[in-house]
Symmetry: C2
Subunit: 695 residues, 2 copies
């Protein structure tokens, strides 16, 4: 895909050619379905019309779909229905041609037509003359057949409406697998009719009924999305043994786990009473979910309970199982047989990859590309989730560049074909129904593009150029990432905040990022399942655009011209002045009337301080003077101190460019003494490193 891409399409199609044409979109835009036609296609057409309606703000009229191509603005030629239930390997390809008088969408299946309609929805553009479609010719198909989003509904319960609106989001970026993580230590979130005590005792009443699941599956199916349930076994099992302590590996009683981490509760594979229960329950799940895959987890059994139970250790020896891993393999084989009896194929996390694992099983790896390659070499199909852990608060660019099959792969072609794709994982320790959309989107759109578009599409600047557009489309499709962030800011600012104070808080939330990886719990050790997640960190996103822009400006200011440019310095100063004032307003005015901001005062003051440092540094650079050593020391101390997130659990991503500014100011006397490249290298080398700021 080397064509220039002035559109905002996401994911980028496999082939795009532009034509010098313009198809005006009037209030009505007649549609003809000229070949295969069915209710699912009609519903997809209605959804697309709804998207345009939300985009333009009109009740975009939906004229009756006809079957005669002649007068229609859009002709849809679909060869057949495709599989009734969305399936792995469904033909999702389509072509879309927009000419001056008509657009034509062709696909082998209805699912392919849906993918094309999503592209069409995104193509709508506007100029002074009005709404239109640009002339274009697209041939498109996905690079990987399995492009998923995992939503953990166990740790923080996520009700039906959350899943529904995220299905809309998935459809928009052409994801095709919803992976529901249904059971974990903190909740058993699915109704069993054969053993209702599982959910009644294991979920605080917060679980999907089977009827709700059927609704969700229908909603997914209408969008060409598979639904794969995960029942995490044998570890992550606290919520199982609340109602069945006799099935745990150590005596109970057990209560639903309210904290985050890896816990000891694990089912006892040596207890024969376990298997009939599993057979009943997995049988129910197999009947409920039409997808041929059923995910059995398998991860993070820490072995504590098995080690502590002599009967279990004796069983391992008696059955020649070698160790706990051997026992887990034994368990997996039993579960595998149960699944096979119910017509399902197993998918699980890395740990299920053990000798004798049936070859049709699929490995989902949180460990990384090497683990994926190992599985593929052994003949197993695999999915990458390592690098797609969106709960870790890493920027979109990182996920975007994480390729299940990088260009450097050493896998043979037939091994490469076993790499099915990947899944973004929305683990829910730190998300609520209120902010989950903002955690998933728009970053998951970047992952969706990685999994759909050609490998060569990997321009990070272009990704960030296009993310705001896809974010707007997601909002139009009913997702709440923007609306709820604003609403949370208003709550945090409180009833008494002035518009200016609210704006300061919005600016602060825009320039901080949540601490990354698994560090938040360290800064906020008291947080558990019932703690409200309503702080600054819960409003802040992992991909601060103002910080990114600032870093780019600093780079340009320092390294892209022989002399610091006055105009650029002015922009930097203005931005730093705003941030300085922002911190002051939040710390001095707002925090006094908004008790929820107590923990954020430190970071607000730090923002003011480090902005002051930045302003000094820019001035020194402009003046061309050499600062005294004391100044450098004070600046360094301020920047280092600001590197410690504190109880708000947020970071200041502008620290890195600020460190560059101070280093450059301190060392500018060397600037003329060496080449620009050498100077840049030197400044980058001596700039303060990021602190290891574990709490």
């Amino acid at each position: 895909m080397t064509t220039p891409m002035p559109t905002d399409l996401m994911p980028v199609p496999a082939e795009v050619r532009f034509a010098d044409a313009r198809l005006p979109v009037a209030k009505t835009f007649a549609v003809a379905v000229t070949r295969h036609d069915d209710a699912r296609l009609r519903a997809a057409i209605a959804r697309w019309q709804q998207q345009w309606s939300a985009r333009t703000g009109s009740g975009f009229c939906a004229p009756a779909v006809t079957t005669a191509a002649a007068p229609a603005a859009l002709v849809i030629e679909c060869q057949g229905p495709g599989s009734a239930v969305p399936s792995l390997g469904e033909d999702e390809s389509y072509s879309l041609d927009v000419a001056a008088s008509q657009a034509t969408l062709r696909a082998a299946t209805v699912v392919g037509a849906m993918r094309g309609l999503e592209t069409l929805a995104q193509l709508l553009a506007r100029d002074a003359e009005g709404w239109f479609l640009p002339g274009i010719s697209i041939r498109d198909h996905p690079r990987f057949p399995w492009r998923g989003l995992l939503i953990d509904v166990a740790r923080h319960w996520q009700p039906v409406e959350v899943i529904q609106r995220n299905l809309d989001g998935m459809a928009l970026v052409k994801l095709n697998v919803l992976h529901l993580h249904l059971t974990d230590d903190q909740g058993f979130r699915i109704e069993s009719r054969t053993h209702p005590e599982l959910q009644t005792q294991g979920s605080d009443g917060q679980y999907f009924t089977q009827d709700q699941i059927r609704e969700l599956i229908a909603c997914a199916q209408a969008r060409g999305i598979r639904v794969v349930p995960e029942i995490d076994l044998p570890g992550h099992a606290t919520s199982w043994v609340v109602s069945h302590p006799e099935l745990a590996s150590l005596a109970g009683p057990y209560a639903i786990e309210r904290h985050w981490g890896i816990f000891n509760a694990v089912l006892d594979p040596t207890n024969e009473a376990l298997y009939p229960l599993l057979d009943d329950f997995l049988g129910e799940m197999a009947a409920l979910f039409p997808d041929p895959f059923l995910h059995v987890g398998g991860d993070e059994n820490n072995g504590v309970q098995w080690n502590a139970n002599p009967r279990i250790q004796a069983f391992i020896i008696e059955h020649g199982l070698k160790d706990n891993a051997g026992l887990q393999t034994y368990f997996n084989r039993r579960v595998s047989a149960i699944l096979a009896r119910h017509g399902k194929q197993m998918i699980g996390w890395d740990e299920i990859l053990q000798p004798d694992l049936p070859k049709e099983a699929v490995i989902q790896t949180y460990r990384g590309p090497a683990a994926l390659a190992t599985a593929a070499r052994q003949g197993y199909r695999g999915l990458l989730s390592h690098g797609y852990y969106i709960d870790l608060m890493r920027p979109a660019a990182e996920h975007y560049l994480n390729d299940p099959l990088p260009a450097t792969t050493s896998l043979a072609p037939e091994e490469q074909r076993r790499i099915l794709g990947g899944e973004a994982t929305m683990w829910s320790e730190w998300v609520t129904p209120e902010n989950i959309d903002a955690r998933i989107w728009p970053r998951t759109a970047a992952i969706a593009e990685r999994l759909w578009s050609p490998r060569e599409v990997r321009d990070v600047a272009d990704l960030y150029r296009r993310l705001p557009a896809i974010n707007a489309r997601l909002e139009e499709a009913s997702l709440l990432q923007n609306k709820n962030r604003e609403r949370m800011l208003r709550r945090l600012a409180g009833d008494r905040a002035s518009p200016a104070a609210l704006q300061a808080l919005r600016t602060l939330a825009g320039v901080v990022e949540p601490v990354k990886d698994y560090r938040r719990g360290g800064f906020q050790p008291g947080v558990m399942q019932s703690t409200p997640l309503v702080g600054l960190v819960d409003c802040a996103g992992p991909d601060s655009a103002p910080a990114r822009d600032f870093a780019r400006m600093v780079d340009q200011f320092l390294f892209q011209s022989r002399e610091p440019e006055r105009a650029l310095a002015g922009l930097l100063q203005r931005q730093l002045e705003t941030w300085s004032e922002t911190g002051r307003v939040v710390a001095d005015n707002l925090a006094a009337v908004a008790p929820g901001l107590k923990d954020s005062v430190l970071v607000a003051r730090a923002l003011t301080e480090v902005s002051g440092v930045g302003r000094d540094a820019v001035q020194v650079l402009l003046a061309g003077s050499t600062p005294d050593e004391a100044w450098v020391k004070v600046c360094s101390a301020i920047l280092l101190r600001a590197d410690h997130p504190g109880p708000a659990a947020v970071e200041l991503p502008i620290l890195a460019p600020l460190k560059l500014l101070v280093a450059a100011a301190a060392e500018q006397h060397r600037r003329r003494a060496c080449s620009p490249e050498a100077w840049e290298q030197y400044v980058r080398a001596i700039a303060l490193p990021p602190q290891s700021s574990a709490p």
Copy 2:
């Protein structure tokens, strides 16, 4: 009510006494229902818990409600269920006492208990120690028994979810009548099963089914809210005669009206075929809506069709009816008989007040207090809507001070009792489901307070102090006035807007107001039912807080000290600088990438210009110099030009304080020559008057 009111309660209760106590609200807050108990009360308790949950952002735990007072934090003593269907004159009184260890809510009826729960929900407060209820003792009851909100679902269709969330808003501010304006020229929005052609041909498929209405009634009933349907007769009848042209007063055919105004289509009262149809349809409505009142409109029959039909004029003469008004009375009597047969009392607009109108009829007046008094003197009960027309974009303060029974009333006590209350009217020419919440709220809360609270509660400054809090509670109750305004601003700014540009647009939208009264159509003559309402005017509110704050600061700066204060001048200058920059960013940067802002460039530039004028004036005032005449002329010209809204159909409410600034600057040489009062009077007198800016 003379007690000081440091709480944000809205409406203000009839009696409030504060106590020196603090009842902490922990994660759980146990509730006991100790006397009458039923499902409606339990549902109200659950809704209140949901409000606290949304407020605090936690899944506020709802422990099982008990019946033993002893350990509970809240005891609810309700004497009985009240009427099964909410009714006029239901006892809505309650008392609420919060002590350090327990809160007690007492009411005669479940509806009274609901009103008390809404007060309790608003009392929740937070300080550094956490959430709590302040010690308080409240005795409360409504001033008027009929406190309504009319929603016009005919001109712009408003689907079920709009009505549902607005029922939540109504409950929050203790409104008790939802008036659904179901039919008008632009749409027949209710299903008839006896004559389905009425809605199928008269509504574009956008109407409430009878099942949906039953759901809405149940939802309203659960909140102690009556639902009164309006079927507008005999005028406003275009949507009737689309399917029944034979019933119009002139020959058809007719099409659904797509524009706004008063139209000619009127039913023909001389056609006997009309009455069986009305009997069928009104019979259906009477069976569907349990309320004893049925609204028959009666307004704005312009007589054009009746005058033009000789047969009708002959009928008037033959039956001794005198004129068109006599014919309408004849028609009303027939309709009244139909309603009586179906067990309903008539309510209608001013025009139904004619000789022989049955005394149990209720007059709703859009004409004003005099019309209301006239009806009361004649023995009719009445409702005030004049002054509560929230579609006219007037500020909350105006509605707030509009009293159905002002202190100056000359009505006798028994006549006063006939004034039942009032209704805010949300006519929907210029609102869509997207922005209707922002048009209704928070201004309708001010009207709700007028109708509930004692007459003496009328401090406008305190109203504006409390509006942001009630607005936040409304948002927590699921209303979209804030969320959708932000979303509309994002749409208007477009995908390419930078955060700074979006902020500029937000600032601009915050400092302009839609043109008032019926002027918008003049500025935007092409707009009809299908036109998207997505412009700046649709995002702007009628009650600009920044403009109000600015006007207050200018008053203080000019008239509250002998000399202009430097600090205040600084604040004014900063605000004006921001607005100046705001206009520049929108006009020069944003409008280039956002075609939807084309019409707003003029007002953006005007904002920059008038802000510049204001800055000059402040400087002149600070310097104490006398400006030359040319400067005064130029400033006046700029301010006068800015008074013309142009195609964006928005006004700049800061023009009035800016005119004061310029007048004061021009005349400050007279300041020392007279008393402060005389000078203020003089400056106000010579300041430029607002322009009559009809397009």
